[in-house]
């Protein structure tokens, strides 16, 4: 079993028995896609909601373009798109007191919304999410089961 590490603005796919993880999500979102029959999954760690307006930049950085790219990688590994289910974690609002109206600080919510929107557009069911709040998250996707473990500082662990 290997642990596959997904960095910031990065995405990776892997198969059973690997664990795919990304560390310290704040307002970024972690989106996982998983095929239960083939036990193959993927994860993206995205910083910003939409690629539109940022053409030419790294696609892994944006929620919508990263999800599309991750699906392509999974398809190359033999996963049909209609076998995939998704989970989302992260999208926190780390500094809540400073300028409630500041768009940048509310980026977490916008990242989550962009994730929900692109999954709906691609008809991929979103089966679980753990988003919002004002705390960081480390997430681990177990490709054997599709379970997504979420670790926090001071708020314990859970599996979605």
């Amino acid at each position: 079993m290997a642990t596959v590490l997904v960095g910031m603005a990065d995405l990776k796919a892997a198969r059973n028995p690997d664990i795919i993880t990304t560390l310290g999500l704040g307002s970024c979102v972690g989106i996982t896609l998983y095929d239960k029959a083939r036990k193959i999954g993927g994860m993206a760690h995205c910083m910003l909601p939409t690629y539109k307006g940022f053409e030419g930049q790294k696609i892994d950085k944006f929620v919508d373009s990263a999800v599309i790219e991750l699906i392509k990688q999974l398809e190359r590994m033999g996963v049909p798109r209609n076998a995939l289910v998704a989970k989302i974690a992260g999208g926190a609002h780390m500094f809540t007191a400073i300028s409630q109206n500041n768009d940048l600080l509310k980026i977490g919510e916008r990242n989550t919304a962009a994730g929900i929107a692109i999954l709906r557009q691609l008809s991929i069911p979103l089966i679980a999410n753990d988003t919002g709040g004002k705390h960081g998250r480390t997430i681990e996707l177990d490709t054997a089961s599709g379970a997504l473990k979420i670790k926090t500082v001071g708020l314990g662990e859970k599996i979605i």
Binding site: G7, M8, A9, D10, L23, G24, L25, G26, S27, C28, M47, L48, F54, G56, Q57, K58, K61, A92, M94, F95, T96, A97, I98, S99, N102, L104, L105, I107, K134, H135, G136, R137, T138, V153, G154
Partner: protein
């Protein structure tokens, strides 16, 4: 514009190092006044670091850190983030409060309300004097907000800086300053997070093209 910003950041690294030097120099004097002891300061290291490497330059994305964020408005708009390891945060707070340092490695460790307020106040003084140095030599206004503290994973806290830079490139500008007193080193990491226009304005005010 995106590539040019990254190129510009690298090209003007010495300028930002000097901004950091002047800013942190003021901050160190303010800290010395607050803690009532001699504080020396290293010349800041200014670097442009890709997103993926920034957490490794520090202690790894899951490390517990104290981050204080200050919103800046005026001619210059953006944020300043001061990041301290828990150990360094504890060292500063215990010196300011004249209390013994507690063990931050303890799994039960949390900052008390008083310690949190003290840390926010220290950050306020550090960032306030840092900003006043920048405004003095650039002639641009920059008004700090009340600071806010968050204690959480490094990756989560730093995302505020990476996301702002993320709209304009693939790297973040990073200033690392070491404060030193008789008891040892305290590492303070400053992240200047100007919006794109402020960044250009700052360079222009210094007589460089944006």
């Amino acid at each position: 514009m995106n590539d040019s910003l990254n190129n510009n950041l690298s090209k003007h690294l010495d300028v930002f190092k000097e901004i950091g030097n002047i800013g942190a120099g003021h901050a160190a004097s303010a800290l010395a006044g607050l803690l009532d002891r001699r504080i020396t300061m290293s010349v800041p290291i200014a670097s442009v670091v890709p997103f993926n490497e920034i957490v490794n330059v520090l202690d790894g994305p899951e490390t517990l850190v104290a981050g204080v964020l200050i919103d800046v408005s005026g001619d210059l708009n953006g944020f300043i983030l001061l990041l301290l390891s828990m150990k360094d945060a504890m060292a500063m707070v215990s010196q300011a409060l004249c209390q013994p340092e507690r063990d931050t490695e303890d799994s039960e460790f949390v900052l008390t309300d008083l310690e949190q307020d003290t840390l926010v106040e220290i950050a306020n003084i550090l960032v306030g004097s840092f900003l006043s140095a920048i405004t003095t030599f650039s002639g641009l206004s920059a008004i700090p907000s009340v600071p806010q503290l968050a204690v959480d994973m490094l990756g989560a806290i730093i995302s505020i800086a990476t996301i702002q830079y993320g709209t304009i490139g693939e790297s973040v500008l990073f200033l690392n300053t070491r404060f030193n007193d008789l008891a040892g080193d305290i590492n303070g990491h400053f992240f200047l997070i100007p919006d794109y226009n402020s960044y250009k304005m700052l360079l222009e005010a210094l007589g460089l093209e944006g």
